[in-house]
């Protein structure tokens, strides 16, 4: 029986320490949430400061802005937008407490289409702005939308540091392996030898594997999905959002103008069974029309695809999202060197580590508790004074 992505929903008893079960506080300001101490807006409407009060229900239309969506017809981005707009009403968050921050590129137009707060910022820097916002306002639900060029080329530094800090936000990387907005140059995820306008003789660069990069950068939640399966995508988005800390999802997204069919070998309906390896926590990693393929561990710890008939029913690796050791997740990410061979999708890794903005808030609260009411006068008098008459 081929495990289906949907069945991975409840992680229940398989989740040691409840990793990934801490849903984001969507209403409450929480202790010391850094909103302005001034007036009105901080009160967040009904339910301020009380995480237990359910947010008023929303429907998809509440999340759709009045802006015309200007992606090319047929772009994979439409699927992602629809998935997000349909997911948000389900998870009980509020538009006024939700912020989408993007950089530059086709994917980064995303915030304009969401009826939430949002910033379409500058190339590569969305993680930086989002980090500041998340630290300053732990009460908000922050999302970063980025692309392969935005996150991994010009913004590579911010991307890796976001991963290691584990700031509470969800980051969606639309990977289409091409620069679309600048009309078709190769990207840091393009395959070596890619012929584009800027590489008429073929590109020389070895590509990044975003999942490998994220795991190497100490990410606590890493998942991959694709734009041809909205159900799976929605589930990955939900898991990433539920994760406390940085939830990273790589989305294979087709650019039908500049890189059409880049993922067809694995995402086309007729290829999925043989070339997508669904990861499901606690289950043997098997795939194929009849589950005839599996993933087995080599003596050196690396993984390979094998035939169940050859290695036996019990040989397949059991997937464990919650391992502290990132090596098995990394090994999974190395199974495929490009989207033309069996490629894992699903949650690679979901571990629990202190969340950055909560820790910052805690340090402030601790200082305030131990040092008492801060007083500007005593601050400027703290360096030793003398008086004259």
């Amino acid at each position: 029986m081929v495990p289906t992505p949907e069945s991975s929903a409840g992680n229940g008893s398989l989740a040691p320490g409840g990793a990934g079960s801490a849903a984001r506080n969507v209403n409450g300001s929480g202790p010391g949430a850094g909103g302005p101490v001034a007036n009105g807006p901080r009160s967040n409407g009904a339910g301020a400061g009380t995480a237990t009060v359910a947010a008023p229900a929303t429907s998809r239309k509440d999340w759709v802005s009045d802006q015309e969506v200007k992606w090319c017809p047929g772009c994979g981005d439409f699927t992602i937008l629809a998935a997000v707009q349909m997911l948000l009403p389900e998870i009980g968050v509020r538009p006024e407490s939700t912020v989408f921050i993007s950089g530059i590129g086709c994917s980064s137009r995303f915030p304009y289409y969401m009826n939430t707060y949002g910033i379409h910022s500058i190339h590569g820097r969305a993680p930086a702005l989002a980090t500041g916002l998340a630290i300053a306002r732990p009460d908000l639900d922050v999302w970063v939308v980025t692309g392969d060029g935005d996150a991994l080329s010009i913004g590579g530094n911010h991307f890796i540091h976001l991963m290691r800090r584990n700031v509470n936000l969800t980051i969606l990387l639309f990977n289409n392996q091409i620069y679309g907005l600048t009309k078709g140059q190769y990207s840091p995820t393009s395959e070596t030898g890619k012929v584009t306008k800027s590489t008429p003789y073929g590109s020389l660069d070895a590509p990044f594997n975003p999942v490998s990069l994220a795991i190497g950068a100490e990410a606590t939640f890493v998942a991959r999905t694709h734009d041809m399966d909205r159900k799976h995508m929605t589930e990955m988005l939900r898991r990433a959002h539920d994760h406390k800390g940085t939830g990273f999802v790589e989305i294979y997204q087709n650019c039908n103008v500049y890189n059409n069919g880049a993922f067809e070998d694995i995402t086309a309906k007729e290829n999925r069974a043989s070339n997508l390896i669904p990861l499901e926590h606690g289950r043997p990693i098997r795939f194929g029309e009849n589950g005839e393929h599996c993933v087995v561990r080599n003596p050196d710890g690396s993984l390979r695809v094998a035939e169940v008939a050859d290695v036996g029913e019990d040989a397949a690796v059991i997937h464990d999202e919650y391992l502290e050791d990132s090596s098995p997740a990394f090994a999974l990410s190395r199974l495929a060197s490009g989207p033309h061979e069996p490629t894992p999708i699903g949650v690679f890794r979901d571990i629990s580590r202190p969340e950055y903005s909560e820790e910052v808030t805690r340090q402030v609260a601790t200082a305030q508790a131990s040092e008492g009411e801060p007083d500007l006068k005593s601050l400027i008098f703290s360096g030793g004074t003398w008086s004259t008459n």
Partner: protein, 672 residues
């Protein structure tokens, strides 16, 4: 009490000392040694300039800052100039590794750390060699004679020992074996000689404290507290300090001690403050006045890091500090925090300004507050990180692509940093704009007495967040438009995330006037460019007019000196010196560099000769010429050190056609 100034080298040194010497102290040590015997009457002098110079590891910054602290306790008026190499531990004994700290202390109002030192304390041959040329003939040299061995002399490039070869005959030389006297004082204390030797800076401090009749109790108390966790170090420092003091008293080497009487301060409570510290406190105050949390995004860089260090301690004030992965992220995080309703600040120096430019441009477009602190240092590129310059002015006024105007405020003195920081916060919040707050390595690290303000009397800053709809369409449906403006300030309506019904998207793409929607319309872009410029120009309406210091009335003096930033103190001192000769000179100081005060054009038009001294090649001169079509004369200094009052005096005298006066008194190093 926070020591006003220490540099990185001193810090490293201190930590190391504690590690090495953190053993139990000698229980027999009597810390309440009898006070030094009564000394003969001291000679009264009006003001003195002392320069402590030694190896980077000799603790000269610490020594200088302690001497400063006790002098401000008298209280003398003081001004200081720390000067140290960028390397934490430059090669010992070399000229490159010399660290110095100059202090002028006075019984009257002074503005600058002085020109030529009356006394040079040289802890080794390199320190003597590096600084001797600044000491006027007849000046006093206090040297650590023990350090003048063949090897050290060689490292400093001396072929013979200047203490013996007669080359210092023009000076009053006190060759004191500080190292061996320190070792002797620490004998039987249990402190290892190698560690005791490190206390020789306290010997020097003790000796100078005796020579200038500084109170000793504050230093004892400070040592006790500072080294309370390292008894051995504490005891060694106490013994060395005491030994130095007693040496002055008993050695009969010094003809007299000197006394600098208390200066007449305006009534009030004073503290001695460094520019970086006052700036950090000003940011805290600014955020409080705006009732917004302070968020600092920063990446460590000399000489701005101390602001990050100071704010990182102030978490009880709700301050969140974020050490980012780079300068760009530091600015980005601050802007993100501002979007959420914090007062976002990023602190840096020149190289960081280059890197933050794109984010600042975004802040111009988003019209959100962002305070960018630039503690200027010598450029271009890495330049000389620990030396001062004012060469980022044009980068801050103009250094972004597109028409991206941003206000610029500059700090004139260490204590002024407090007020200037509040001013930068005010403009940023009330006008929703990035604001540059310019400091420099000199004001950042030097200290001065600061009459503490009544913080309860500071004017509040009005953020005035949007709380509801501000626009109605033709059919009467109301909505929130993020780019509807206040008619006076032109500040846009600012709604915070979390406010129901005011959801909106901002971005770096051009926005339609009012609605804020993406707009590629040419006429709209032209309008928006003008509006953003008008908004920054409108800041001028909220700032005080340029105040002209011209005793005869505006336009009376034949020459006007224009200062900005840290040139303030040298220019004012230079102007005073000219006036003390019975000549007329006027001065105007600019805190706001963009926009300028509204009356500046009129002021400049009243003077035939306008001098603009700057620690760059004439950047303000260029702005003034372009803006007002006036023929200003640039006076430039790019040596990594601030102007001296005498240099300004000379320029003004030249402009007055009285350069001859200067030549007559060229040996006068007593800058005020």
């Amino acid at each position: 009490m926070t020591p006003p100034i220490t540099n990185e080298a001193d810090r490293v040194d201190t930590v190391k000392d504690e590690e090495v010497q953190g053993e139990p102290g000698d229980p027999e040590l009597d810390l309440a040694l009898s006070p030094p015997g009564p000394s003969e009457e001291a000679t009264e002098v009006a003001k003195v300039v002392v320069r402590f110079a030694g190896d980077s590891g000799d603790g000269m910054q610490l020594t200088g800052s302690r001497f400063t602290a006790v002098s401000s306790a008298i209280p003398n008026d003081i001004a200081t100039l720390p000067d140290f190499p960028a390397e934490i531990r430059a090669p010992a004994g070399t000229l490159a590794g010399v660290s110095s700290f100059q202090i002028q202390f006075s019984s009257s109002d002074i503005l600058t750390p002085g020109g030529m030192p009356d006394v040079l304390v040289a802890m080794n041959p390199a320190a003597l060699k590096a600084h001797l040329s600044d000491v006027p003939l007849g000046g006093t040299l206090v040297v650590n004679a023990d350090a003048f061995d063949t090897r050290a002399l060689g490292k400093a490039g001396y072929e013979s020992n200047p203490l013996e070869d007669g080359n210092l005959k023009a000076y009053r030389v006190y060759a004191v074996p500080m190292t061996s006297l320190t070792l002797e004082a620490c004998k039987d204390s249990g402190v290892k000689p190698r560690d005791a030797e490190r206390s020789k800076n306290f010997f020097a401090l003790g000796l100078l404290s005796w020579l200038y009749t500084r109170p000793i109790e504050p230093t004892f108390a400070w040592i006790e507290k500072r080294f309370s966790s390292a008894e051995m170090v504490r005891d060694a420092n106490l013994r060395a300090f005491r030994a130095g003091y007693n040496f002055g008293d008993t050695a009969e080497m010094f003809e007299t001690r000197y006394e600098v009487k208390p200066a007449p301060f305006e009534p009030g409570v004073y503290t001695n403050v460094a520019g970086n510290t006052a700036l950090a406190w000003g940011l805290v105050a600014g955020a409080r006045l705006a009732r917004m949390p302070l968020f600092l995004g920063s990446y460590p860089i000399t000489p701005a890091s101390d602001i990050l260090h100071e704010l990182a301690k102030l978490k009880a004030f709700g301050v969140k500090t974020f050490q980012a992965e780079d300068e760009i992220a530091a600015a980005g995080a601050a802007l993100g925090a501002s979007y959420g309703g914090s007062l976002g600040v990023t602190t840096t120096s020149g190289p960081g300004i280059d890197l933050k430019a794109e984010t600042i441009g975004l802040a111009v477009s988003l019209e959100l507050p962002l305070v960018i602190v630039d503690v200027q240092r010598v450029g271009p590129s890495t330049g000389i990180p620990t030396k001062t310059e004012q060469s980022d002015l044009l980068a801050c006024v103009y250094g972004r692509h597109g028409e991206a105007p941003a206000p610029v405020v500059a700090i004139k003195s260490p204590s002024h940093a407090f007020e200037a920081a509040i001013e930068a916060c005010r403009i940023a919040v009330e006008y929703r704009t990035p604001v540059y707050l310019l400091s420099d390595g000199y004001v950042a690290n030097s200290t001065e007495p600061w009459r503490l303000p009544d913080v309860d009397a500071l004017a509040p800053i009005e953020a005035a967040f949007a709380t509801g709809a501000n626009h109605a369409d033709e059919e009467g449906r109301s909505s929130y438009w993020p780019y509807v403006r206040d008619p006076h300030t032109l500040a846009r309506a600012w709604a915070l995330p979390g406010t129901p019904g005011l959801e909106h998207r901002l971005g770096g793409l051009e926005k339609a006037d009012g609605s804020g929607e993406v707009s590629y319309d040419p006429a709209n872009h032209a309008a928006m460019v003008l509006i953003r410029q008008e908004k920054v120009d409108a800041v001028a309406k909220s700032i005080p007019p340029a105040e002209v210091d011209d005793p005869g009335g505006i336009g009376s003096a034949p020459v006007l000196a224009v200062s900005w930033g840290s040139t303030y103190s040298a220019v004012l001192a230079g102007v005073r010196r000219v006036r003390s000769r019975g000549l007329e000179a006027a001065m105007v100081h600019l805190v706001h560099l963009n926009p300028f005060p509204e009356n500046l054009g009129e002021v400049l038009a009243r003077y035939d000769r306008i001098l603009v001294p700057e620690m760059n090649l004439g950047q303000l001169s260029e702005l003034l010429r372009a803006r007002y079509l006036v023929d200003v004369q640039r006076i430039t200094k790019v040596e990594g050190l601030p102007f001296r009052a005498s240099e300004i005096e000379e320029e003004i005298l030249e402009a007055l056609g009285r350069g001859d006066l200067m030549a007559k008194e060229s040996s006068d190093g007593a800058d005020t």
